[in-house]
Symmetry: C2
Subunit: 358 residues, 2 copies
DNA sequence: CTGAAAGCGCTTACAG
DNA sequence: CTGAAAGCGCTTACAG
């Protein structure tokens, strides 16, 4: 006890019980080169030698030091994923896809949450660069801040020069000349489709609710929304646009205010499912019914959209596939700018019970 | 194009544009030792020197190679978290706590999903051992398989000898002599409390639904359930026990079968919220009402329990805190077996609308 | 098929 | 306050 508290941490960390490749070599009576080769299985080794090495490994409980291995030139077998929040279903499902694909390619995942903070995002990319991740995957909407874009572009270049790659998953390109790989989903198309569906059901006064201004996701969805309005000859009404945040609390609160304000509308387009569900709650509290009095649609098709009553009509985003494709694209052979390096997955409307024809 | 496809991958990975500490030193006109010192900020360096180094770093876009740093003896500043599924809210919230605490202690998270597979779990721990993670946190229920326990205990020892630590978060100890840190929640106590609540509302025939046999979480919850029955003098009825899985589909399917079988009961204890919600859906489909005809409780208090109608009465588990505490305990100074190395967070019943007195 | 040795990019005593 | 040098634990040409 006394001893352990007086020892400096570094000494504790470096205590020598850890078996190294040299220990294994000694135990097996071979050179370290031979141990390395039998473990890497990338070079012929005699069967008898191999089994002696493996026995030694087993006996010593040896696992290679990934850092030494990485330093010596091997790949790190690591992919980084940066998301806004681990507990948010949108990111959770994308992360699941990344994790599953990475692990099927025998890689470990590094994960960090930005908490939707631009500077944190930049700092996290640097941390992953330090770790020499084979790829760094940026998930979800991006800030449209110019200084931020420039800084991220610089990191993309550094990563590329390093033999790694920055993957943009569900966010816009950083520019033609910036070496990145993109895996997107048809964000604006989904918004167009669900808005058009609302219009086809007779809705003309549609509230657009939620999503941070200055976020690429908001821009794309709002663009699709407006495009649908325009295609049907409906004039956009600024009074009906309420950007803000992506959470359920925002949807609930803002909807309460709007309901109190007596703004006229027959349907609400929630910028994501969480916002839509929050809005539904406010609507119910106000003594109104969905869809009889007000129709509501969401976006993302996360599980909650199936759980709520009435079940929410929404736009499906292939979240898990997005994650899988991101690592496939990042790790596959490709040329920057080539087709295979940039793909866009489809979205589609999932019709459930929250919209009524009027 | 042609060139890049003929180059071997390793050459691409090791292309030299990456600035090293030597490049920075040259650029700044100082020794590598000085660069290291100013970057680590753990040693006096003249202001003027420092700024020259920092300029060089900026100019070259230098970030230290984490592997070289780790190899040279510094800590890896990395914590590993192993969960069953990233997209499962239970694990998502614990992971959020881990991620937040780790990042506030300036550490990166390694994350991998076991898909509830024992052997995968063991393999993942080895991968994290290779990475020399400062701590490896095992989240959620553990298998009660004896061979598995032995293997995991061996890894705990190896980790400890390495200056790292295995953290058991929401799962039982591996034995007195096995060096681990535990952060638990009062699993059995929560089950006792919510069962007792059901009984206090007049329920006597309570169905226990879901959760894999052979999983520590199931064992703890079922034990609390039985203890509550016993405390009130209610004989346990094997007919009313339906173990199985943790997902919503299981809750739905099995409840359908049970409803069709005409088993008699007035309440159901869902082994977790997902199971409870699935059961509620089957009940509704059968034309029965919750709580008028059947009362239902869940466990975990994940968001869906608030989303469903009626809102689900459940047991709160401090998921995010569990994650935070796990990294605090792992990274704090402690002696194995000491109090601070082993804590248990409280659980409590959250009463909502899914239980009726009879 | 096997070994000796260089080198990966850092950190940290050891000397000034 | 600064530098030269050893060493961390691997992998990989280079020689047999």
């Amino acid at each position: 006890m006394g001893a352990s508290t007086t020892e400096p941490q570094s000494a504790a960390r470096n205590s020598r019980p850890v078996a190294t490749i040299a220990d294994v070599a000694a135990q097996a009576g071979v050179s370290v080169a031979t141990v390395s080769r039998t473990l890497s299985a990338n070079y012929p080794v005699a069967e008898s030698t191999k089994s002696r090495v493996l026995d030694a490994v087993e006996k010593l409980g040896y696992v290679a030091n990934a850092h030494a291995r990485a330093l010596a030139g091997a790949t790190t077998r690591t992919v980084g994923i940066v998301i806004a929040d681990v507990a948010d279903p949108f990111f959770g499902y994308v992360a699941r896809g990344v994790e599953r694909q990475a692990s099927s390619e025998n890689r470990l995942c590094l994960i960090m949450a930005t908490e939707a903070d631009r500077d944190r995002e930049l700092a996290i990319v640097d941390l992953m660069r330090e770790q020499r991740a084979d790829a760094v995957i940026l998930v979800g909407g991006a800030s449209d801040h110019a200084g931020y874009r420039k800084k991220m572009a610089a990191r993309a270049k550094a990563l590329a020069e390093n033999g790694s790659v920055l993957v943009l998953c569900g966010r816009p390109s950083l520019g033609e000349e910036v070496p990145t790989v993109s895996v997107n989903y048809d964000n604006s198309g989904g918004a167009f489709a669900v808005t058009d569906y609302l219009i086809s059901q007779g809705h003309r006064k549609i509230l657009y609710l939620g999503g941070p201004a200055n976020l690429s996701t908001t821009a794309a969805r709002f663009e699709g929304f407006n495009r649908a309005l325009q295609a049907r000859g409906i004039a956009p009404d600024p009074e009906l646009v309420h950007l803000g945040e992506f959470g359920r609390p925002f949807g609930y609160q803002r909807m309460r205010e709007i309901l109190a304000s007596k703004t006229e509308f027959t349907a609400v387009f929630g910028a994501n499912d969480l916002v839509a569900v929050g809005a539904m709650e406010a609507i119910a509290e106000a003594g109104l019914r969905v869809p009889e009095d007000i129709s509501v649609v969401g976006y993302d098709n996360i599980p909650v959209s199936r759980e709520v009553r009435p079940r929410l009509t929404t736009v499906n985003v292939p979240l898990e596939d997005l994650g899988r494709e991101a690592v496939k694209a990042a790790l596959g052979r490709f040329e920057y700018g080539s087709e295979s390096a940039n793909s866009t997955l489809g979205t589609h409307v999932v019709i459930r019970d929250s919209v009524r024809a009027i």
